[in-house]
Every structure is written in structure tokens, then in C-alpha cells.
Symmetry: C2
Subunit: 591 residues, 2 copies
């Protein structure tokens, strides 16, 4: 059975050696000294490894059941949810005014990674709530905030997002759920929503559904869409729970993974809903929720890979099979451990260097969000808006790939459910699909984000890479980082130029390469992170840091990423530059 | 629910336009004219699509059950197995003397692809039997052949392969199962074997287990290993079934996929076994079985991708979502079909061009086997021995990747089991693991096959590629094929040279790049196939072939492969040339 140990030391490195949080001018960051963040991380890590991780396989095996219209979560989930509530973890980075602790988002992200690694399906009950809270914080009225937020921050109530319908996923303009205005100012919501994560369960008193629906007079397509709050139980003026709203669970979907989370079909039969934000402006409010959710999903990608990697590493050190080609390393035993074999190491290093790079990238993204929210730093906002599809799309693709790679280390045992490695792969798979399938992320990146604000955010990113390379000129230690980063960044620029030169004549020339561009950019981002991490590690070593092995391993892992992951950029550029013809030339009938 | 249609037309193309089977000097090939092979393929295709495919999801959902020591297969499997028996499909490419039809292996491969695409788990009952038959054909005595083969060819009895034990998979030298010589010349087999596919079931009267075990006096490691026939029921001299042998099912494993196949723990408690082949030479006999099995597994890789692709394509044509960026293509409908979107096409073309290339490669491999078996062509034998790890390792990796890509086309529905796309990915996953995990295939390729017979087989392959390129010099139509193939082949040579120059000093320099080399070589092989297929398609068009759309689509699909898949070679070479340092430098303790 897999286990999980929170990577506190590595998170400490990212927060303090890499991001140097206490030196940043962001309100709230000054408090984040090493001992303080370490205490938080260790406490969260304990919950993750001792309470959540042991329930991961239970949730997978038992799944959720629909009994008399009510969803029953797997054995132990309710108690774990109480522990999560008691620890106040959901409110960690939420406003004090609604019961939160107002800590920076970067801290919430670190803690979130642990919970996701330990038990992704379980953590989604809280994760969706977090997203719904953000939407209400952004678009809700003061009364709505007062009514819903305190109970949601404390996890007494949870939240959901309702977008998809059977015939419409990405194309929300096709939506059929209707909102009829009522005399009392509320709306009667009628329609069917599918794929509603945490759509119902038995761990909270109430569930606050945020539902997209079409109210009269909004016109065609997504313009007619508004956002509504539809509580499972209506809330009386005194805050107590009132009538059961007619929203019911049609069924729980049988999925490839995340069995511990109830993915529901929800039927709204004239349920009472309350408009949130402006009428017919529901997409805007939903996007607020979705952007943070996309970063959360990008985190799921590498967090599953982290959990899978930890176990693959332990197995590779433990399992005796064959002998090192350079001579026995465990001569007293019947065979050497798997980790002596170069191809096993290649596999493990692939995983390790991706996960640590993605962690740095995601925490940096969270830091950019903090700069936006807490400082009003519009450059940071522009940058994270550009990075969001990369964090989501690239990291979930690679995260799944790495979970599959970790499974491979186990040989035949990796395929047997009892060993738990299949679950990491099956759970990680969904992250490539939901919150906008990765093809949509690539479209968002190339079709929208690259050119946003006259392209200034991507130019700022290139400047950042350039400055990083320049800062290490003449530093021989950094050659293995700077040279590959320069090349990859140049390839990304070449790809961008190719799009600019060809997209006017033929938009398909850009869109045919969008997926490759997302991956190319992902590697440049992680390459930048690794260059910065290497520099930070060298600095720490020079400053006489105690844990020399850790910092040296960090540098070696970075060298691996630059030597073995970054060459993918050359491939992606070649694919991009082959243009639209290979992709578009075959008529649909001739496939 | 997914459906399956046998790709008869494409198989016809590979057999007749590409391989030109009737023009080959292989005994039995002269009979294979188009109308004859088409009749076989259509008949097999009917069984595949009408009988096997509808049971695929049933097998996945129900799995196998162990009841009072007997394995029960899913609903409908027994009747389908009878249909398979009645059609005589198992004997298609087996000797007439034991009841087979003695057709070439290349025909058996085509038919096998259909059965695997339609229902991989089901087909394994027959597939393992086929492998066991080959081992008995090669290593068995005349008496053993007469006793076992007729019933196995007819599928009245099935077969299994027993290698793995709980503590030893790849490293068979660690084996603990013992064989004690008995007074009657038989052996008493005692030990536990795991991961035994088709290990028990209720569809055949008897099961013939081929079991590796250690007999006394053989020394340490794999040298002491012998191969034994251990029937579930002993066979009386008159051919009737005798006593139940003490081999019992410990449990059926819960797996990620192929639920319809019973993967058993088998306990041998002094079971009566009969030595097959020479004492202490069991590994040799087992390898006979394993080599064909590896090609069969490589076939599973792309056959699952084929089935997944067919359904993804149908969904992409059917599902309406969004509008083409170049203007509505279905203006009368509420949205355009998915297939108008460049990234969906990119995904579909990735799948299609891989599957068709892999089919050609595998059929070509089967043709090489026919040349070896039927003509004693040692050059062909050397070549297929070199190609086997590539067919197995490369094609199962890519096949899984493509099944996952097909799942992605469905968006959220791809994650819901009801839609069936998850099963293709879950089933395909095992092919990367069993019959030697893909890391072992890469080791076999680089550590053994490249240098075998003084490297003459790989040199022959390079000459073949060179000749193919030379044949098209000055033919402008072929530029998009010849140039990328030349480059990729050169990259493969450079990688080989790198291994030669560095492996003497440091074997890890070669082994660190073995996995990348396997993929690099896979692309060169498929690139060669696509170049040949393009030429064949042009020839057919010039000859005035009726189905011009088919041949033009073939060329367009090939162009896609060359433009979009082959650039991976540059990445693999860069990874290889980064050498052992990035892979080996981190001490195991510092991971």
C-alpha cells in the first residue's frame, strides 16, 4: 500500500531559497519566516500522511454510493473531513472577516499540494468549496457574502461548480438550463448538469451550488448566461437551514478514477436560485472561479506524480532484481536493488526533475497571484494569466505521464490494484480533462493569452529569461543551465514568430501547433525555474548551508532536467513549423 | 458503447500493395491472392465486430470470479470461445499435422489484430495457447506433440506460461519453484507462480501449463532452470482426461484492466510435470515462446490504439461543439463537429498515422518470421530478432499513449466508464509491462541485439533504409518522406556510434540511453514503412486504382507521420548524447 511523506524540506527550499518570500514586498509575506512556514507545513503534512493518505485506497475501492437520493462517502471520509474542519485548513488563505486566516495564497498552495498528493478525491470536496468561495468573494453581494461565506470557509457547508450539460462541455453557448425570474427576485432553475464534482455528499450540512443558466433576454450563445447560487437547503434569514431545494442527484458517474469523489448528475427542477453578479454576465464570474481552479488542477498533475514518485523510489530501493552492469552493489544479497539499473534511474530522474520543477513553477505562480491580489501588481496579473493554461495543460499531461512512469517501476505489480500505483495514474488522468480539456488550454494560450495586451506579458517573460541568462554569464557552474535555457527560449520565440507570420493568412497554422507550443512553453518555464533553483542552491552551498547533500542533489536534478527534458523543445518547434498542412489536409470523410 | 469495424481495406493494402505477398518466394504465399485474403479477413472481422467486441465492456465490468477453486469467465465468453473454436481460428497459422491450416504467420497476425482490437482480454486465452503450442512445437518430444498439440490447436485445451514468482520477475535466476525427479521419469513441481494470464477458466476441458522450475544439479541462477508441462488434468494414454493435478488457483488478481482475463496466482503442490526440452535448458525453450509473445504484445499496443481511434474518430465527427475558426462548417446546426478543430485533428492524425505505420511494421515483422520459418532465411531471422524489442517496447508505449489521446477526444465523457474509452487505455497499459517490461526491451535491444552477430543485422537495416532513400532520388513527390527518413536514420546511426564509443569505458553510457534508442529506432522503422507505403500508394494511383481517396489519404497520413512524429528522433538523440552523468550522478541515498 502506498504511503506519503510531505516534502517539507523541498517546499521550504522553494519558499525561502528560491522565492525568498520574506524579502518580497507583498503584504503578509513578512511573517513567513522559515520556522513559521515550517511549522505550518509540518502540521499539514501530518494530517496528509496520517489521516488522508491511508484513506486514498479506501476511497478508490469503495467509491461513493447513492442511497435514497443521498450520496454516502467512503468509510473514514467523514471523520477526516471533521479533522480538516477542526484544523481550519480551508480558511488558511481566506479573509479573516469570514473566519479565515488570511495567509498568502502561496502558503495555501503548499498545503494544498500535500492534501492533493495524499488523497486527491477527498481534497476535491474542499477544493471545489474554495473555488465557489472565490466566486462569491468576487461577484457576490455583501448579503450573499455574509450569508454563505462564513459557513463555507469553516467547511460546515461545501460548494460546487455547475457548467457542463450532456450536450455541452466546452461550448457553453449551447446551454439549455433555464432560469425563470420569480416575483420574489429569485429565479427558478430548471435543467440537468453533469460531471458535478462533490455534487452531493454526507460530510456537510449544506451544499452551495454555483450554477450557470440562461435567463430570458440575454440573447444567443454565452452572452445569455448568468450565474446563480442554488443552495441544497435554503438558508433562513437567521442563518438556519430551511426547505430542501428541488435539486436532486440523478446518478453518480462510474469513473476511471477519483472514485472517492462523487461526480454527480444534478437535476434542477425549478430550484430556487439567486443571481450572483450581473445578469447575463455569468461567464465572467465563472472565469474567476475557473482560473484559480485551473491552477489547482495543474497542481493536481504534479502532486499525483509526487505521490507516485515517492512510492516508485521506495520500491526501486527495496526490490532486488538483477545486478548492476558495473558490478554487484549488494553482493551479500541475492540481487541488487532496482535503483542500480540505469534505465530505472532514468525513469526516476524524469519524475523527480519534473515534479520539483513543477512545484517551483506552481509556487511561483501562486506568488504572482499574491502580488496581483495583495499589491495590485498588474504585471504579475498579466503574467499569471499567461501562465495559467501552461500550469494546467503542461503539468497535468506530464504529471499523468510521470504517474504512469512510476507505475512502470513496479513491473507487473504496478498493474495490480492492491499495490496502489494504478490509482495514481487513474486519478491523475482526469486532470488532463476537467476545467477545460488540455486542448482548450492550448487554444486559450495561443489564441488568446499570447497576444493579450499587445503581447506584453509574453515579452515580459522573454525579458525575464534573458535577464536570468545574462546574470550567469561567465559562471562556468551554470553553463549546463544557461545554454539549454537560452536555446529553448529562442525556440519558443521562433514558434511565436511563426504563429504571428502565419496566423493572419491561416489561423489553422497557429492552432495546429497550439498543443506543441503549450508543451514547449512549459519546458521553458520549468527550465527557468531550474536555472533559478540551481543558482539558489549554489548560493546556499557558498553560504555554508548545513544540508549540503540536499543542495547538491538539487543541482544534479536540475542538470538532469536541462539535459533530458529540455530537448523536447526542438521536437515541439519542428512540429509547430510543419504548419497546418499535415494536420488539415485530409478531408473529414477520408479519415 | 464503443464499436469495432475490422480495417480490412487497410490490411489488404499492407498485404498486397506494401508487402506484395503473392510476389514473395515464401512457401504458402502464392495462395494469398487478394480475394482469398479478403475473404479470410472479412470472415474474421465479422467474428471480431459482432461477437467479440460487444463482450469487451462486459468482460471489463464483470471480470472473472473464483468460485470453489474454479475461475468463472464473464457472461458470454464461453459462447464466444465456442464460436472461435468452431471457426478454427486458433489453428489458422499452425501445422496441418496437428489440425491447423498452415497459413503464413502474416495472415495469422492480421486476424490476430482484429481479435485483439475487438476484445484484448478475451483473445489472451487463445493467445497464450498459441504461445504454448509454439514452445511444444519447438522443444517437445514427438510423444508430447501428439499428446497435447491436437487438442490445443483446436482450443479444446488452452495453455499458459509460468515464469514470474512473487520475488522474481525479470530476474528469473532468483526462482524458487522446485522440480523433484520422480521414479516414473516425471517431476514433482512445487512453488508459487504469479501473474499467470488465462491461468484458469471454464471455457476449456483442460489447461496445459508450461512451467519454469529448478531441477536439482543445475547450478545457480537461470542455468538451473528447466521447462515442464504441467497439465491441469493429467492425460491418460488413450487421450482421455485423468486425475486432477495438484495445481490450484490462489487468487485472481484485481488489475487496472484486462478484467476479462483471469490473471491467477497458481500454487503447485507437488504437481506432476513432464520435462520439455533439455534439462536445465528451460530458458532457451521459454524464449521461443517469449519472442513470438513479444510480437503479439507489440500488436496489442497498436490494436488497442486502433480500436480507441475508431471510436474517437466517430465521436469527433458526431459531437457538435464550437465553430471552426475559419467559418462555420455546419451552419445549419447549433455547432460544428469536433473534427473541424485543428487540435482535435492533430490528435486524430497522431493516432491514425501511428496505428497504420505500426500495422505495416508488425505485418512486415510477421513476414520476416515467415521467411525464417518457411525459407530458413537467416538474414530475416536476424532482422526480426533485432526488431522484436522495438515492436514490443515502442509500439506498446505509443499504443497506450494513443489510446489515452483517443480518450481525450471525448472530453469528460472519456473519463466515464460507460463510454468505454477508459477501458482501451487501462487494457493497453499492461502491454508496456508484461512479456518483459519495456525497460527490459530497451536493454535487450541495446545490450544484446545491436551487437548480435557482429552488428550485422543493424547494418543490414541501415542498408535497407539507405536503399529505400536512394530509390526515390529525384522523385519530388517523395521528398517529404525521404529527407526526414534520411535524417532520422542518421540520428539512429549517430546514437549507435555514441554507444560504441562510450560503452567500453562505461556501460552505463549506453544503458542510460537505451530507452530513448528504442523509441528513436521505432520512429525510423515506422518512417521506413511510411516511405514504402507512400511509394506503394503512388504506384497504385498511377496504375489507375479505383479507390483514389484511400490512396491519397494514405499519402497524407504518411506525410503527417514524417512531419510530426519523426521530429521526436532529434529529442531522443540529444537525450542519448547527454550520456550517463545526468542519470547516474545522484547517489541512491540522495534521491
Amino acid at each position: 500500500m502506498p504511503t506519503y511523506t510531505a516534502p517539507v524540506k523541498d517546499m521550504d527550499f522553494v519558499l525561502h531559497d528560491l522565492l525568498k518570500v520574506t524579502e518580497q514586498d507583498v503584504p503578509g509575506y513578512a511573517d513567513l519566516d522559515r520556522s513559521f512556514t515550517q511549522a505550518i507545513l509540518e502540521e499539514a503534512g501530518k494530517l496528509a500522511s496520517e489521516v488522508l493518505a491511508p484513506l486514498n485506497a479506501v476511497g478508490d475501492r469503495e467509491g461513493c454510493r447513492l442511497e435514497n437520493g443521498v450520496v454516502r462517502t467512503p468509510t473514514g471520509f467523514k471523520a477526516a473531513f471533521e479533522a480538516m474542519k477542526d484544523g481550519g485548513w480551508n480558511g488558511l488563505d481566506l479573509p479573516e472577516e469570514y473566519g479565515g486566516q488570511n495567509m498568502p495564497y502561496v502558503v495555501g498552495t503548499a498545503v494544498g499540494e500535500m492534501f492533493v498528493s495524499a488523497n486527491m478525491a477527498f481534497n476535491m470536496y474542499q477544493g471545489l468549496t474554495h473555488g465557489a468561495i472565490n466566486a462569491i468573494l468576487t461577484a457576490g453581494s455583501d448579503e450573499q457574502k455574509a450569508t454563505y461565506l462564513p459557513k463555507m470557509v469553516s467547511l460546515e457547508w461545501t460548494g460546487t461548480m455547475n457548467l457542463t450539460e450532456p450536450h455541452c462541455g466546452t461550448d457553453l453557448g449551447l446551454m439549455r438550463t433555464r432560469a425563470e425570474p420569480q416575483a420574489d427576485g429569485s429565479y427558478a432553475i430548471t435543467g440537468q448538469k453533469i460531471f458535478i464534482s462533490a455534487g452531493d455528499h454526507d460530510m456537510a450540512e449544506n451544499i452551495i451550488h454555483l450554477v450557470l443558466a440562461k435567463a430570458p433576454g440575454g440573447g444567443e450563445g454565452t452572452r445569455g448566461v448568468s450565474l446563480f447560487i442554488v443552495p441544497k437547503f435554503l438558508v433562513n434569514p437567521d442563518g438556519s437551514l430551511g426547505a430542501r431545494n428541488p435539486v436532486s442527484v440523478g446518478k453518480i458517474e462510474e469513473k476511471m478514477g477519483i472514485h472517492g469523489n462523487a461526480t454527480c448528475v444534478l437535476n434542477y427542477d425549478g430550484a430556487k436560485g439567486f443571481l450572483i453578479g450581473d445578469l447575463h454576465k455569468g461567464m465572467k464570474a465563472m472565469f474567476v472561479m475557473m482560473n484559480e481552479a485551473r491552477i489547482g488542477v495543474g497542481l493536481q498533475g504534479y502532486a499525483q506524480a509526487e505521490a507516485a514518485y515517492q512510492n516508485a523510489l521506495a520500491y526501486a530501493k527495496d526490490r532486488l532484481q538483477g545486478r548492476a552492469v558495473t558490478g554487484a552493489e549488494n553482493p551479500a544479497g541475492p540481487a541488487d536493488p532496482l535503483i542500480v539499473h540505469p534505465d530505472i534511474r532514468r525513469n526516476l530522474m524524469d519524475q523527480k526533475s519534473f515534479v520539483e520543477g513543477a512545484r517551483a513553477f506552481t509556487f511561483w505562480g501562486a506568488h504572482l497571484i499574491d502580488r496581483g491580489h495583495r499589491l495590485g501588481d498588474t504585471a504579475a496579473e498579466g503574467l499569471i494569466s499567461l501562465m495559467t493554461p501552461v500550469i494546467k495543460g503542461f503539468q497535468t499531461d506530464k504529471g499523468f505521464e510521470m504517474a504512469v512512469a512510476a507505475q512502470q517501476v513496479y513491473g507487473g505489480h504496478g498493474y495490480i490494484e492492491e499495490w496502489g500505483m494504478s490509482q495514481f495514474a487513474r486519478d491523475a488522468r482526469i486532470a488532463m480533462i476537467y476545467e477545460g480539456a488540455n486542448g482548450i488550454q492550448a487554444l486559450d494560450l495561443v489564441g488568446r493569452k499570447l497576444a493579450a495586451d499587445g503581447g506584453k506579458h509574453v515579452m515580459a517573460f522573454f525579458d525575464m529569461v534573458k535577464a536570468e541568462c545574462k546574470a550567469h554569464e561567465g559562471d562556468d557552474r551554470m553553463t549546463g543551465f544557461v545554454e539549454p535555457l537560452k536555446l529553448a527560449s529562442k525556440q519558443m520565440q521562433t514558434a511565436g514568430l511563426y504563429f504571428m507570420q502565419n496566423a493572419m493568412k491561416n489561423p489553422n497554422a497557429a492552432l495546429s501547433g497550439s498543443y506543441d507550443f503549450m508543451h514547449l512553453m512549459g519546458h521553458v518555464c520549468l527550465g527557468l525555474m531550474w536555472t533559478r533553483m540551481a543558482r539558489a542552491a549554489y548560493d546556499a552551498l557558498e553560504a555554508g548551508a548545513a544540508d549540503r547533500d540536499f543542495y547538491q542533489a538539487k543541482i544534479a536534478t536540475g542538470r538532469y532536467y536541462m539535459a533530458r527534458h529540455l530537448p523536447a523543445c526542438t521536437m515541439h518547434l519542428a512540429r509547430i513549423e510543419s504548419g497546418a498542412d499535415p494536420v488539415m489536409s485530409l478531408a473529414a470523410d477520408h479519415f
